[in-house]
């Protein structure tokens, strides 16, 4: 295995370094990008890309790929497993199965095939996070990080109610360390806790049972905590009322609460501009007041984003597949179960969160599903600044991740979209605006919304999402030549090229060659280790000891995820001692 590599004649799209379709060489040494002149061509592995489309490795900012609820999906959907199965040595070394909830091995393979090298697990319940790390460890190739669920947490609620924000911040830091987590993840704040009592919250001022704290207060304080600590990523939010007709108003109100919290983005790593990232925004952009009056409010969502830069989003685009929904939004999954009659799994995680899993069939014949399909794409096309938008399907909630190439092709071609508008329900012509949008993404927009923007939003743009010197050598080369192809017309070719990368390099090692996995290195696990003042931490720990003794089913000493669960940790050290004293 050569430690040096030279990729010649690559047609590079690298938006973080303002490179737009230049034919150039890429040097790689010891797993990092270097100036090509530093590579000794006689010793290096030399690859001639012959003008093929070349980007940094893809970054998925939000996907459910590892952990307890993903595995519940796998276990209770054997019928999903038989839809797609890969024998050992067909794709990579190991076998696997699953269409919407693939097993860990083929999850790694299929992402790598598409040229993705970093995937963030969107939600891990703190108490059960060992399982998440076990699956991350079992997923080959990919660098991952886990988003720690915090928005229905008794301890944080109590600190906030008592106005002890610094203790709340110190506890959040402790929890990130205990779970080896990367992000403060917020799912239906207040709603999942209320679900423990069979209830939900219905507005930003609807108090959480027993805690008498409102979703608005939760957002306001969590965004403050996040910026006090200076975490690389912002709070990562899944607002209340996901999937309900008319919810776009609550979404925009939520964004206003965050805007008016009185804080500015203040990360200690990276230069993100957002205060919050609203994930799978498609599910939060609905008009009407019932299913019969359901309509797209993508224009309102995009209009807000075009006027404000404190929010970023990922799409959660519906791909019209049979899939599996899974979320920490417990009450939502109950509603889906009631709506579809399909089987349902539900889980309550003690003082922290809950979750549910229900299969779902998005059908192009269904009027609501068709409009949902339109909304995801509309938001991507109507939001002017591509740095605010990341392509996602909230895998597997709106569709499986391996449909990303199709979403890219839809965004790049009006003709392709129109072809699908013909196939879906006519409501799309009446309740959505997709038919009137002629914008088409270019290669640069794709590079932004699949690698550069998510890397920056995560605060990791010093190491991933670009091909500048010093970046990790994650390179994806696709079998397509930008100067010979018109994506607007040749969308089929574009989709195929994005499905099967011609060559993927991860940390300077070739992992995919012409669509086949040839190497399966262990991926990194990113986590954030925040130092807080020692005395503050001691006070918090004293409080925690009481909570553990009184309420938890485990001892505090057995709670923390040990280092052994992270075979290749990438600890991001942040010092918040000055900020909290």
């Amino acid at each position: 295995m050569a430690k040096e590599m030279l990729i010649k004649n690559a047609c590079v799209y690298d938006p973080l370094n303002d490179v737009e379709g230049e034919i150039m060489d890429i040097g790689i040494k010891d797993g990092k990008i270097v100036d090509p002149s530093e590579v000794d061509e006689s010793k290096a592995k030399v690859i001639d890309a012959e003008g093929r489309l070349t980007m940094a490795g893809g970054v998925d900012i939000h996907a459910h790929v590892a952990g307890p609820k993903v595995n519940v999906g796998r276990i209770f959907r054997p019928e999903d497993s038989r839809r797609f199965a890969v024998a050992a040595k067909k794709l990579g070394h190991r076998a696997g199965s699953g269409f919407s909830v693939p097993s860990t091995t083929i999850t790694g393979y299929m992402y790598a095939q598409m040229g993705y090298t970093t995937v963030m697990e969107a939600a891990t319940p703190p108490l059960l996070t060992r399982h998440t790390h076990e699956e991350i460890r079992d997923t080959p190739i990919l660098d991952e990080g886990a988003y720690t669920l915090m928005a229905n947490n008794w301890i944080l609620y109590e600190y906030i109610k008592e106005g002890e924000l610094e203790k709340a911040a110190a506890y959040a830091a402790w929890l990130l360390r205990a779970t080896k987590g990367f992000v403060i993840k917020m799912v239906n704040p207040g709603g999942t806790e209320a679900w423990g009592w069979g209830e939900n919250v219905h507005s930003l001022d609807d108090p959480v049972p027993h805690f008498e704290i409102t979703p608005a207060e939760i957002y306001e304080n969590y965004v403050k905590i996040n910026e006090m600590l200076g975490l690389p990523h912002s709070i990562h939010i899944h607002p209340n009322l996901l999937g309900e007709p008319g919810n776009y108003e609550l979404t925009l109100e939520t964004w206003d609460v965050i805007k008016n919290a009185g804080v500015e983005p203040d990360p200690q790593l990276g230069e993100r501009e957002q205060l919050a990232h609203n994930t799978h925004v498609q599910f939060h952009a609905y008009g009407g007041d019932s299913w019969p009056t359901f309509e797209s409010m993508a224009e309102e969502i995009a209009k807000y984003l075009n006027k404000n830069d404190h929010m970023t989003i990922d799409l959660g685009a519906v791909t019209l597949d049979e899939t599996t929904t899974m979320t920490a939004d417990g009450p939502l999954e109950w509603e889906l179960h009631e709506l579809t009659g399909f089987k349902w799994a539900n889980y309550d995680v003690e003082l922290e969160t809950g979750s549910g899993v229900v299969p779902f069939i998005y059908s192009p014949k269904n009027p609501v599903h068709s409009v949902q399909w339109a909304i995801g794409l509309e938001i991507a096309l109507l939001t002017e600044n591509p740095w605010q938008v990341v392509i996602s399907t909230d895998h597997p909630n709106a569709g499986p991740f391996f449909r990303y190439p199709r979403i890219m092709a839809w965004l790049m071609s009006e003709e392709y979209r129109n072809q699908w508008i013909e196939r879906v329900h006519p409501w799309v012509g009446q309740r959505a605006v997709i038919g009137s949008i002629d914008r088409e993404y270019d290669w640069n927009d794709i590079a932004i919304s699949t690698r550069a923007a998510p890397a920056k939003m995560l605060g990791l743009e010093d190491r991933i999402g670009h091909l500048g010197e010093g970046a990790y050598a994650h390179v994806a080369i696709y079998d397509i030549k930008p100067d010979e192809v018109d994506p607007s017309r040749d969308y089929a070719e574009v989709e195929k090229a994005f499905e099967q990368a011609w060559l993927v390099v991860k940390d300077g090692e070739i992992v995919v060659q012409e669509g086949t996995v040839v190497n399966e290195p262990v991926g990194r696990t990113y986590w954030v280790d925040v130092k807080v003042p020692e005395d503050l931490l001691e006070e918090v720990k004293k409080d925690l000891e009481t909570k553990f003794r009184r309420y938890y089913s485990v001892n505090m000493g057995n709670y923390e995820v040990q280092d052994v669960y992270l075979p290749r940790e990438e600890r991001i050290e942040i010092d918040a001692r000055d900020r909290l004293s």
């Binding site: 209770f76 959907r77 054997p78 019928e79 999903d80 038989r82 399909f342 089987k343």
Partner: protein
């Protein structure tokens, strides 16, 4: 009809998966080509000709082909999988998933059939002359879209959970059945000429289950509607509608022979 005879060379100890044994696959092939079709014995890929002696006459149209298995093959799975036409006769016992996802044609098992016979059937006729295992005409694990058509006749007894999630079609068991016949049933008809063990029709929402013998127990989610006759079946029956465990609007009908079962 041209007859192709497959004679097993041994009693297979390791399960063989042979979904290629069906007229649709054999149509248009020479005997040599049929012998080289791929099957799995455990995790090893083998040629059909390594496991069976193949002889007979082939045809181009599957409708004109009868496949005869000359012997017991209780460890050969998936015979007749998704077949659409022609006929298969298994002259002894058959393995699991025989006739699964069958769409047409005829499949006859002269001996016993293991579990999952006629799983997710869409059409055609499947006859088991001996006993059948569990999950006759049921759906796949986890799946909720079950058998959509066709007819299954078992001349002996059948096991548990037959017709699970059945949506349409007909299952006739001439002997007795195990527990929870027609569980989750949505449509179609199950006739049991013998007795039924516990809880026939558990969580059924549609379709008909007719028990001509005794039924062990009726779940509390069934509402008694009185004594009635049933189309095409002799005798009079206690009629129940359920299973109301699934909600107020269920339409599943469970009939128990009124001469053999007490009035509830």
């Amino acid at each position: 009809m041209k007859v192709i005879i497959l004679e097993p060379k041994e009693d297979f100890e390791v399960p063989v998966e042979a979904e290629v044994i069906k007229p649709d696959e054999f149509a248009g092939l020479t005997i040599d080509e049929i012998e080289s079709l791929k099957v799995h014995e455990g995790n090893t890929e083998r040629e059909l000709g390594e496991l069976f002696d193949v002889e007979g006459e082939t045809a181009d149209d599957p409708e004109d082909i009868e496949i005869r298995i000359a012997g017991d093959v209780p460890n050969v799975k998936y015979i007749g999988h998704a077949m659409t036409a022609g006929r298969i006769v298994i002259e002894g016992d058959a393995g699991m998933h025989t006739g699964a996802e069958m769409e047409g044609g005829e499949l006859i098992v002269k001996g016993d059939a293991d579990s999952w016979v006629g799983r997710e059937m869409k059409g055609g006729k499947l006859i088991v002359e001996g006993d059948a295992g569990d999950y006759v005409g049921s759906t796949y694990r986890g799946e909720w879209r079950g058998t959509k058509g066709g007819t299954i006749i078992v001349k002996g007894d059948a096991g548990n959970e037959i017709g699970e999630w059945m949506a349409d079609g007909e299952i006739i068991i001439e002997g007795s059945v195990g527990k929870m016949a027609g569980i989750h049933m949505q449509g179609g008809r199950i006739i049991v000429k013998g007795d039924a063990d516990l809880w026939a029709g558990a969580e059924m929402e549609g379709g008909e289950i007719i028990i001509m013998g005794r039924a062990e127990d009726v779940l509390p989610g069934f509402k008694y509607e009185g004594v009635t006759e049933v189309d095409g079946v002799p005798g009079t029956y206690h009629m129940f509608v359920g299973d109301h465990a699934c909600g107020p609007d269920v339409e599943g009908k469970l009939y128990l022979n009124s001469a053999l079962n007490p009035r509830p």
